[in-house]
Amino acid sequence: MVDGMAADGIAGASRAALETSVASLYEAHYMSLARLALQLVGDPETAEDVVQDVFTALQRRGDPAVLDDPRRYLNTAVVNRSRSALRRRRVARAFRADRAAAVEAADATSLRAAEHARVLRALDRLPRRQREVLVLRYFRDLSVTEIAAVLGISASAVSTSLSRGLKTLPTHLGRNS
């Protein structure tokens, strides 16, 4: 940390702090955010694009010190940009789904792996909000309140989506066989 700065050094010091904080946020959160994005968008390349876009915006802003809750902001930003990425890349995503199915067929060497693949595909088929809530709850381990803050919806709406998602997802899983 930098301290002992003279008053006339405030501008430089605060700037330096801001610069460092963006880099620090990147270092601290990139991996976990990329994995969060992966759950939302379904493929590594897009996930990394999403997170890099988030940090691009943050870098452009260059003022992360005014983020009152960086972790929540980053979660929200990744969710929002994941939505945009899915909208933009619907066609590409459909292609990936085909490819994923093929990969699964080749790699599903165990029932468990096959089941996981089905779960992930089922997750992708859920309505957007249900998918986001399930990912934030069961992958990010956020509480209902925290999810509400990230998505900008009420806690009751989160609970409803959570419940519906858990009920709906099995309908997309198909039979166990």
Binding site: M1, V2, D3, G4, A6, D8, G9, A11, G12, A13, S14, R15, A16, E19, T20, V22, A23, S24, Y26, E27, Y30, M31, A34, R35, L38, Q39, P44, A47, E48, Q52, F55, T56, A57, Q59, R61, G62, D63, V66, D68, D69, R72, Y73, T76, A77, N80, E115, H116, V119, L120, L123, L134, V135, Y138, F139, G152, L166, P170, L173, R175, N176
Partner: protein
């Protein structure tokens, strides 16, 4: 059968499946290159971003960055040993990149590097010779990395303290700007004997841009040496970028010492506006 799954089953499956997918995920862009890519993509090609990239590489690279640039360090200062790691990407960035500028937020700095950066490692108190500053130099951007635990002081009294947990992590690095004039030739790092450090110093010229002024005569932008604009740049909780009123950021303050004794600041939500100060685009939570 779909009816075979209880909520608990689904929860377990989801956790397992998502964790498995995450565990198999190896982001290939999580490196100093990716950070530089972000800098490029953002268009924020100011020098400080290059320095941030230096910070990024410092956190992941083993060893130090070797002497970079054309300036020669003082003989008493030992540059990083040849055996230490030098990142080709970083060297390229630091030595061949043309000075670039971009429109900052109103009130922000436009920083232009005027010379190649000088990177040296030292121990204890030492003076680092930077050479003759190019015409127009008004500052030195110094990126300091603690190589050991210690208290490292810049020439103007600002300091950086590193504890054991910081060493080898991002928190062991800091960036600071020192004033410079045409007579500047060096800068001194003060530390106790045996406390080791590394700096990358660059002569720069910084130009502070003007705050914007909206139709209502309110200034907007970022805080700088001139003070605080009426509307301060902020990010809303929904990710939108806008401005909050500085007066609302401050919030209620105790009017006297007795009030101060019992004053309990609480978290508040304030509006985030476009630069017009009227069009609300989100909210910002001020911590209590």
């Amino acid at each position: 059968m779909t009816t075979d799954y209880t909520d608990a089953d689904v929860e377990d499956l989801l956790r397992d499946a998502m964790n498995e997918r995450a565990d198999a995920f190896r982001p290939h862009r999580h490196s100093e290159r990716s950070y530089r890519a972000i800098v490029h993509r953002s268009g924020a090609k100011r020098y400080w971003n290059v320095v941030s990239a230096v910070a990024a590489v410092a956190a992941v690279a083993v060893g130090a960055v070797a002497l970079v640039g054309t300036h020669q360090p003082d003989a008493s200062i030992q540059p990083a040993a040849p055996s230490e790691t030098t990142s080709p990407a970083l060297t390229t960035t630091a030595t061949t990149r043309a000075p670039e500028t971009v429109e900052p937020l109103p009130g922000g700095d436009i920083v232009t590097p005027l010379a190649d950066p000088v990177t040296v490692s030292g121990s204890g108190t030492q003076t680092v010779h930077l050479g003759v500053p190019p015409e127009g130099t008004d500052g030195i951007d110094v990126h300091l990395t603690c190589l050991t635990v210690g208290y490292f002081e810049f020439s103007d009294g600002a300091a950086m303290e590193c504890r054991a947990a910081d060493i080898g992590t991002r928190t062991a690095s800091g960036i600071y700007r020192l004033p410079a004039t045409a007579e500047t030739r060096d800068t001194t790092i003060t530390a106790a004997p045996g406390q080791r450090w590394r700096i990358t110093a660059t002569y720069i010229k910084a130009t502070v841009t003007e705050w914007g002024v909206n139709d209502r005569g309110q200034t907007y932008g970022v805080q700088n040496a001139s003070g605080t604009p009426d509307l301060v740049a902020a990010m809303a909780t929904n990710g939108e970028e806008g401005y909050v009123f500085a007066t609302e950021l401050t919030g209620p303050q105790p009017a006297n010492p007795s009030e101060a004794a019992t004053f309990q600041p609480t978290a508040r939500t304030i509006p985030v506006y476009e630069s017009d100060g009227v069009t609300q685009i989100g909210v910002f939570t001020v911590s209590g």
